[in-house]
Assembly symmetry: C3
Homo-oligomer: 179 residues x 3
């Protein structure tokens, strides 16, 4: 998915409804979506966006294979997680980790799976390959680059994700569970 | 546990004896200890501190749930480890990895579990959830921050821990094993 | 293995044939090889080097215990991998991760195992402890050090390896598989 720097998204129904981060969409009304399987990219309108929760919906005119969604939102500390994304415009990349905590205060899932710019908006799967969250950010420290510019340095092992059921609720979406 | 920047510690008996890093204690004679479970914090005196080995004992006037301790100190390369800590003052965070080596020379356990400031003094568990070590430091490189200040950047995958039996010996402590 | 900064290599037959990265060898005709088991180091001539693929062969006059090699080169996304190396001149270090992708374009295996300078040229094992690749580099960003110098900061979770069968082909080597 590429407005500018790019990001990742995933289909939540078979009619081309795609969820991602609001910050990936930026202020575009339409984004180009490219399948991990390759092929040509298609242009899809942004249908909803809630900046406060960093979630957005895009509707592509395509038949899509949706992710499996969990029945309950709760995750357990220590649970295995898998992130899939397209950092640096590279082909789909898998990284693995565990849930470090369910941050009730910030209402985010924290894990030690490594993600990178471009992973944003992509799915965080549990061990049953249900998409339990939208990987959103990892913790980074700004330091000085070689030309005095600000460079964000990733702190390893700190990744946050928006719980999927919360994202759907915020976006006011009901989805049928894939059996 | 909070003198300043904070750190983590863990109970080694049910009478409130808590072990941590000496560098977490700094030069305080008393520290405030807050339970992961939340609730009010209590003030506990530092009872012993060996700076050369970076270990310290604190005695809280409370009934405590101690960690399980291992019967033997030796760890195996490749063994799974779990670190628990409170980096950045956040709630208890779990990260996972494997033992990379038993550094006989430095007498430390090295693993690829990710830890962060605030994890210091916290337990490193094996897969049986025995506290085999006190997570102490990860490797960091100083680089220049945006205002010319020194910023420590974590090198991923390099974490050191003090073997627990060694720490107990240095602190001259005998503990009963929890069955 | 040490010309300068050092690196890692591994034996691919029992007659002392050792494979590593070309960039570990630099432009030396002979390198000093030290066993992980310790003991004295030996001097071994470089017998072949293909800079374009960053692979090299060294022949030590010793009886060696070779790694197991895989029968097929293909790896699966999500497969467990283990890297062994000697970063920072420390004793053999094990780190674990999963295959993130098989980068067909660059013909490299990408994984989220953490490696460090000194791991270069070392083996990347699968879960059957077959050496499927030569760990070669992790992604790093240059930032400014405290004295204005360039410091490479490792981006966590991005490690590349040269598939072993490709390396052997490029070096024009046939090896017998260890049963």
């Amino acid at each position: 998915m590429t407005p500018e720097g790019g990001g990742t998204g995933f289909y939540i129904n078979k009619d081309g409804l795609l969820i991602t981060n609001a910050h990936v969409i930026e202020s575009y009304n339409e984004v180009r979506v490219e399948s991990f399987a390759g092929g040509h990219s298609i242009s899809c309108p942004v249908v909803r966006k809630v900046d406060d929760y960093d979630v957005a919906l895009v509707k592509c005119d395509t038949v899509s294979l949706p992710v499996r969604l969990p029945w309950k939102g709760w995750v357990q500390r220590g649970e295995s997680v898998n992130a899939i994304g397209a950092p640096f415009g590279k082909p789909a990349i898998l990284t693995k980790g565990v849930v470090s905590n369910h941050l009730t205060e910030e209402e985010l899932i924290r894990s030690d799976v490594e993600i990178h710019p471009g992973n944003s908006g992509g799915p965080l799967f549990n061990s049953k390959w249900e998409a339990i969250g939208i990987t959103t950010s990892n913790y980074a420290i700004p330091v000085m680059g070689l030309e005095g510019e600000s460079v964000d340095v990733t702190v390893p092992g700190i990744t946050k994700a928006i719980p999927i059921l919360r994202a759907l609720k915020v976006l006011n979406i009901k989805v049928h569970h894939r059996k």
